[in-house]
């Protein structure tokens, strides 16, 4: 019996101007421009873009894309693939595993002629009440992000950060604590974390968060009572926790709030100068991305001999992987934002 060496993934998965392309399968993963066939890891706008002809993703990600882009721009045809289900596209086996990033987020697992690559998209390893946890999949090449790939980034437990918020509210009970967070994923996770911490009062939210919160509820994620943070309700906003997009918390919209304490929930809040730049008074280190120990642990866990890095701080990660005998390679994918630029 003749054993054939499986082909190296770099022979069938490569970087093109439109993004990562699986040649035998004829599809892209998270392409940056409209293509014929796209597999989408999750609904954030730097991964899910409008205008593709055929889109494959989890049912939740497809629902999010329809909500954000409209039915007509979220793919001419949409094909749902649940976690753990597999299909074969031109000889390439494709299946999805949870990435733990936001609702619907998935790692795209690809196998061709015995060679396996996993494109993880954005991911985290912490518990998140709003989506299923990351599941590691063994592979030859692991494609990872490196948003927080410096050893200074170690996210504290999210519950501890929520505790700091509630302590601040106890100290300044009349002031509105307004948390800057983006509309998809972070907002719903914060609401769920607040509910876990016993905060059962109605949470006023900025209009830009409303539709996705409603969609999360429709998809079975319970968020408790939410109310619009409208100007009309100004009197009722004193002493509350309000959620809004980061751009709104220090701008004109925030004038309706009572002596607001601007809070920002992001992995970047770990570094003070970065946190101070935006006029934030209560930085909360809560991130939907893997921190440094999680990145290294995940790369080791999937037992890949090579790790490809899509975007972020690849230098430090390549250096640290090299010390573990793992070859790191920077893909320099363009069009990927930092956490807050979602």
């Amino acid at each position: 019996m003749i054993r054939i060496m499986p082909p190296h993934p770099e022979t069938w998965l490569r970087v093109t101007e439109a993004g990562l392309y699986c040649e035998p399968g004829g599809f892209f993963v998270d392409p940056t421009r409209p293509v014929d066939r796209a597999i989408i890891t999750h609904g954030h706008s730097d991964h899910a873009r409008p205008g593709h002809a055929h889109v494959l993703a989890t049912p939740e990600t497809l629902a999010i894309m329809r909500e954000r882009m409209g039915e007509d721009r979220a793919g001419t045809t949409q094909q749902a693939l649940g976690y753990g289900e597999a299909l074969t596209v031109n000889g390439v086996r494709v299946w999805l595993r949870p990435a733990g990033h936001v609702l619907g987020s998935a790692q795209v697992c690809l196998e061709w002629q015995g060679s396996r690559a996993v494109v993880s998209g954005d991911y985290k390893r912490r518990h998140d009440p709003t989506c299923p946890p990351f599941e590691p999949e063994r592979c030859d090449v692991f494609v990872t992000e490196a948003t927080f790939a410096l050893p200074v980034f170690r996210h504290p437990p999210a519950a501890q950060e929520i505790g700091r918020l509630l302590a601040s509210l106890a100290l300044f009970p009349e002031r509105t604590h307004v948390i800057g967070c983006y509309a998809l994923g972070k907002a719903q996770r914060l609401i769920a974390l607040l509910r876990q911490a016993g905060w059962d009062r109605p949470i006023p939210i900025h209009g830009a968060l409303q539709r996705l919160c409603t969609l999360y509820e429709t998809l079975g994620v319970k968020l408790g009572p939410l109310v619009p943070a409208t100007v009309a309700a100004k009197d009722k906003l004193a002493g509350t926790i309000v959620l809004a997009p980061p751009s709104a918390i220090a701008d004109r919209w925030a004038r309706r709030l009572n002596e607001p304490v601007p809070c920002l929930a992001s992995g970047w809040m770990r570094v003070r100068q970065r946190a101070k730049q935006g006029g934030v008074e209560l930085p909360m280190v809560i991130s939907d991305h893997a921190d440094w120990p999680e990145l290294l642990a995940t790369c080791a866990e999937v037992e890949a001999s090579e790790v490809w890095i899509t975007h972020g701080r690849e230098e430090a990660l390549i250096h640290a992987l090299g010390q573990q005998g793992i070859r790191g390679r920077a893909l320099h994918l363009v069009g990927r934002g930092e956490e807050d630029a979602e």
């Binding site: 410096l150 050893p151 504290p156 601040s168 100290l171 300044f172 570094v271 730049q277 934030v280 640290a320």
Partner: protein, 528 residues
């Protein structure tokens, strides 16, 4: 829990922009922390802690043996602050289960430790703390908290928490030492007022109110004495058997920055005066004095280039005799007689200005254009020396501000309540066909004007750089200020002292705004 609790305090202070918010945070510290840790926290905020053996180089060595050099370099490059980089990078896999150290324990242990023991002690503490608490510990032991809270603010918070006057705190402050147990006992009604006997202590200053037109009309010339209002910094000189101190207006000990003044204070008295840079008998502009402020060490070159002197205007104590209850005229006579006898070097008396009527005095004020003079001080001849800002006995009568018509160039958002408003303005004057920045101002306008300016800026933005917006060069602002100086701070080559927005000149075309030549004409030389 005290280092972690202190870490939370520092963190909140750093990110809280407003004074009242900071005071609330410090008050809560006094109310909730036990002795002696709360007093150590107070000492740290007041800059009264100093450890000789814990230096940044030591911490750098500690982290170097525990991290990969490449990853350390990348991290330091990203974070930009050594203490924070070390705190964030410190390995967590060796995290010990030891309880976090208390603040007083840190002080006690470091004071008693030999130089060789310090690295292991600090490493063990760092292993017992999380990253925020590690940063607090590093800042605590290496000095320099940099959280925007001064010694004065800490005392104000202490006074508010205890329901005392801050002046009362100042009176006893220099007679107590960390962790201030007798001070807290007194403030909580558990002990006697600490006795600062023998120690040089700061006596809260008597302050003046700005003179307004309606106040001026009520003044009767014979009741009043006039002095120049010098553009230096207010100081109190305390000297006697217990030591010598130079205090700032807020009671901060600035002796270390002015060793020549301390050396010249060979007397037993407490005097009130103005600290100035004086060359060959001429008072130099405030910018020269600024070179000497906030320095821990003073070089021989600084002493020579920016020689300091004091101009005295009041005597609070002569020997142990408290002169403060005496009327101004009597204190002035005592000051003159004492100065004639003691003749302390580097000091002179601020002269009394003779005048026959208030109109004559007004003319003298209007004629004073020297850079070192801000205007006049008016003091009632019968006024005792009363700490604080009592309205009536003393007036400061600044000369009318200078003004320039400038063009708005850039705007930046403010902080705290103003964080949604573009409230910090950079403005310029014409040099040939070009506009060159001459200053920044963030006050002077009314709330209504601010709303208008904010909208105008949003509607006329041409470019954005982070929090800064560049605007169309259309809007003329009348800027009031106290003096113009040559300076390299702005591209125009000039800087303005205390600039504020006096008026929005919507009526004036930008092309008719002032030119750099007009600024030069307002720069005045020094005055004897």
């Amino acid at each position: 829990m005290s280092v972690p609790a202190f870490a939370e305090l520092l963190e909140r202070l750093l990110f809280t922009p407003g004074r009242n918010g900071k005071v609330a945070l410090i008050r809560q510290w006094f109310a909730t922390q036990p002795d002696p840790d709360r007093g150590i926290g107070l000492a740290a905020l007041a800059g009264e802690l100093n450890f000789r053996t814990a230096k940044p180089a030591l911490l750098r060595e500690l982290i170097a043996t525990r991290t990969d050099p490449v990853l350390f370099a990348m991290s330091y490059d990203y974070v930009g602050d050594l203490a924070e980089t070390i705190a964030l990078l410190w390995p967590e896999d060796a995290r010990s289960n030891a309880p976090p150290p208390g603040l007083a324990e840190v002080v006690r242990t470091l004071d008693g430790a030999g130089r060789g023991e310090v690295p292991a002690i600090i490493a063990a503490w760092l292993h017992a703390l999380d990253s925020g608490a590690r940063l607090a510990l590093i800042k605590l032991v290496t000095g320099g908290l940099r959280v925007g809270a001064s010694a004065r603010l800490a005392k104000v918070a202490l006074a508010e928490w205890a329901g005392q006057e801050v002046g009362e705190i100042e009176e006893v402050w220099h007679g107590v030492r960390p962790p201030y147990l007798p001070l807290f006992a007194w403030l909580e009604g558990r002990g006697p007022r600490p006795d600062p006997a023998g120690q040089p202590i700061f006596r809260p200053l008597m302050l003046a109110h700005p003179l307004e037109a309606k106040d001026f009309e009520a003044l009767h010339a014979p009741d009043w004495r006039a002095e120049w209002k010098w553009d230096g910094i207010r100081v109190q000189l305390t000297a006697g058997p217990g030591g010598r101190r130079l205090w700032s207006r807020s009671g901060e000990d600035i002796s270390g920055s002015f060793p020549e003044i301390i050396a010249a204070m060979d007397f037993h008295a407490v005097a009130d005066g103005e600290l100035l840079v004086v060359r060959d008998g001429e008072v130099a502009p405030f910018a020269d004095l600024q070179q000497r402020l906030n320095r821990k060490t003073v070089t021989a070159k600084m002493l020579k280039e920016f020689p300091a002197a004091v101009r005295l205007y009041d005597l609070l104590f002569e020997g142990e005799e408290d002169l403060r209850p005496l009327p101004f005229d009597a204190r002035r006579a005592r000051l003159e007689a004492w100065h004639e006898r003691a003749r302390p070097p580097l000091s002179s008396l601020s002269p009394l200005i003779g005048f026959g009527s208030m109109e004559e005095l007004a003319a003298i004020r209007d004629g004073a254009r020297a850079a070192a003079i801000e205007g006049l001080m008016l003091k009632r001849g019968d006024s005792p020396y009363t700490p604080g800002r009592v309205k009536g006995p003393w007036w400061k009568w600044k000369r009318d501000p200078l003004t320039l018509d400038c063009v708005l160039m850039y705007a930046q958002r403010g902080h705290g309540k103003r964080s949604s408003f573009y409230s910090d303005f950079t403005f310029g004057v014409w040099r040939g066909e070009e506009l060159v920045p001459v200053g920044k101002a963030y006050s002077g306008y009314t709330d209504e004007e601010l709303v208008w300016l904010d909208k105008w800026i949003r509607d006329h933005t041409t470019a954005r750089f982070g929090p800064v917006r560049e605007v169309e060069r259309h809007l003329v602002l009348e800027v009031a200020f106290d003096a113009a100086q040559r300076s390299t701070r702005h591209k125009s080559g000039y800087a303005l002292r205390f600039p504020r927005i006096a008026r929005i000149r919507r009526d004036k075309p930008a092309a008719e705004a002032d030119r750099v030549e007009a600024v030069e004409a307002l720069v005045v030389g020094s005055l004897a």
